[in-house]
Amino acid sequence: MTVSTEVRNRTAGGIGESPVRPDGTFKVTGQFAYSSDLWMDGMLWGATLRSPHPRARITSIDVGPALKLAGVSAVLTHDDVPGEKVYGLEIADQPVLAFDEVRYQGEPVVIVAADHPETARRAAALVVVDYEVVEPVTDPREAVGHPDWKPVHDEPGERTAMSRDRAPVHPHGNIVRHQRIRFGDPDAVTADVVVQGDYEVGMQDQAFLGPESGLAVPADDGGVDLYVATQWLHVDRRQMSGALALPEEKIRLTLAGVGGAFGAREDLSMQVHACMLALRTGRPVKMVYSREESFFGHVHRHPALMRYEHGADRDGRLVYVRAHILLDGGAYTSSTPAVVGNASTLGVGPYDVPNVGMDCWGVYTNNPPCGAMRGFGAVQAAFGYESQMDKLAAAVGLSPVEIRTLNAVSEGSILPTGQRIDSPAPVAELMHRLDAMPLPGSVDQDIRLLPGGVSNTTHGEGVRRGVGYAVGIKNVGFSEGFDDYSTARVRIELVGDEPSVLVHTAAVEVGQGLVTVQAQIARSELGVERVTVAAADTQVGSGGSTSASRQTYVTGGAVRAGCAAVRSSLFERAAARYGPGEFRLVAGKVESLVDGVVGDIASLLLDGPVEHTVQWRHRPTQPLDEATGRGNAHVQWAFCAHRAVVDVDVELGLIRVVELACVQDVGKAMNPDAVLGQIHGGSAQGLGLAVMEEVQVVDGKLRNPSFTDYLMPTIMDMPPMRVEVLELADPHSPYGLRGVGEPPTISSTPAIVAAVRAASGVDLKRVPIRPEHLVAAALCH
């Protein structure tokens, strides 16, 4: 790793090291309690009846037959929702339980509690719901009857006799958000070289391995305790408080083990339902979604339709970008506004472009709701703009690396929002480093290593090698003026004779290693090796969401600030004991900057523990101007680049990713092992989007809600990776660090597609690539 920052670090297990995860032993021995593992004597099991229709009016619900089933304790409908009937992250429009109308297949209608999960499911099936089916709006182009709308594709979606008068999905219309970016003079400007392209991204699923689950326990004070796997305890609680008509302090959430998240736990799933059942029955209620139900139980990645036009001079220098991006948000708002914000502001990629005209829409349809998934907005746009950069390279006779380095942003560049990049932006360096990495050997004739593998589909005759490059940009943290903060309580005390630190935040560990890094920060800041990170819960202030690659930055910043407050108090004690002076805490000792070691931290704690709770914010951001997209909307950017090497059987359309190389700037590798883990995992999910992963939705209905039919990368699909990590400090962030989790997901997809294009010669416009895209094109040749 290239190290450009140096943080004093002499306490073992501090920042910059990769100590064993504190939860690691529990995870490898099966003792780590995930939300689906919870148990309480006398508990009931919840189940959910969901709409079979993408769109229908509910004419009646008869719960009678379900209530008659032995073992059933409660059957609840929208009439039983104690408070607000709708909830939502940004806009409350999603019914707790459907009333009047269902707007997507799988929308919850009735919930049941019974003494056995099978009984609960059978009872749910006995509920009689009468629906009046309405034709769904499933084409996002058709969903938008807005005067500003220009079709993304020349041919509008097929219109039926009904479509003209079709009722909007929501009374306020079908546009969730329309964000324009107007930079320079995008309408008038012309260029010598122009390339255009239409691109499409399919619907990806987060497919975390641990399904939605939790245990709600009614409390004596009329409130409820919920043990749940989520991404943001406090925002869950805020939404639950409205729906349950309980003050927030009567709803206590404790994080249970999280079996992956990737954005899918940002919205509520079973939280309110389990609490309603628990409060109604007075008994603990556990809910666990099956894998099939999980596909209906969380939002997906927005499918996108994009039209890009890039203009450049003859040397390949960008003159303008004009783009339309249409994101299908499905039936409810979820995170769509933020997804539109990211796609529009990052829509030209990490390139200097003097003129930008961009229109990005997020729309409602009767498709499954879409929201947060790793890298949202940036992932979709990157497939578009990186495909365009390769087209432009070919048009002006440059290599993929040359076109990108020529146009790369750097520190000081002005983005299309008018915001200046005020920290390192080593995009050209990422490309150069990728370029300098050795390539793997030529096509291997060992059939095990050919596309199709031991299916024995080829002996190499139709197999072509291809190499592709891509680079991406991602904002870190919550943008557009959001008050993004985290809270940390830090306590130091003697346990036995040893100083011991307890760090308590509500920030959610999902596997990324947040509990490890919180402890590392406390060790480095307080010079104490024995650090415990308390279970995340709502007994401490909000930690903000585990999303937007923000937790190490923001909760890390809060822990650092909490430690600084504790340290100040300890220094006061040190001054009282050793006389005035400047001190530091290292490896259990108190050092005077003048006299060296003057005593033990333990001796400062003889007067009792020290505890501070602090809220910490990153620097503020601004909203975007609706008409021009002007605004310092982002707090930080992260950059990552991939080179993909693929072998393609051009006769069968089979693809094997041979190698992925990746270079990412992380500012400061707080925990190098965890950084690599994020790069590996993010790259794998990008590979999935490139060549296999898609939730198939036909007429609003999900066709493949299972791991047999929704394909994601296995250990066989994941190729070896070469990874280089840069550490160019961001002067505005704690330790100079940059968010790590999302960037690798962004560039791996377009790099793989570029490699497949290079191997096959086919102008691929859609991800995931399917064999027929390659073969149909080959047949036309």
């Binding site: 021995t29 003792q31 689906s36 391995l209 641990g210 894998r291 250990i715 994941m718």
Partner: protein
Amino acid sequence: MQLHVNGRLHELALDNRTTLLDALREHLGLTGSKKGCDHGQCGACTVLVDGRRINSCLALAVTLDGVEIRTIEGLSDDGALHPVQQAFLDRDGFQCGYCTPGQICSAVGMLDEFDQGWPSAVTTGGQPAALDAGEVRERMSGNLCRCGAYMNIVPAILDVADAAAGRSSA
């Protein structure tokens, strides 16, 4: 019926439709084995039955009367981690950890299969002298990891194989 799990005998009265996974999780309180799909698609529920790895979500408990079942909870020996567990820790072979009990049980079973000379679908020309990355990938391909910790799972397993064979994999 009787279930022998991790060296202990349990008397159980089970609905005969109960899977081994549900018997372990709901009846014996052994929640280490995970349910990722309940359909044999993900491997999170992998346990060892008479030393052989199976998806416990696909086995009916009543068919396993009297056989020896080992789960993730039964791998460590008096607090000492099994070498595969230790290797997953050392190599950071997981993130969320939900797939991990299944990965580890599967690896334990797989290493034994290899020792017994079982070929895999990628084995060519007879039994290879040593496991390599390609063999490990093929033999572990039934265990999904959505966090994408594959890059560390392969060396973790190779560490154990190499240590058993008296080699160092550096």
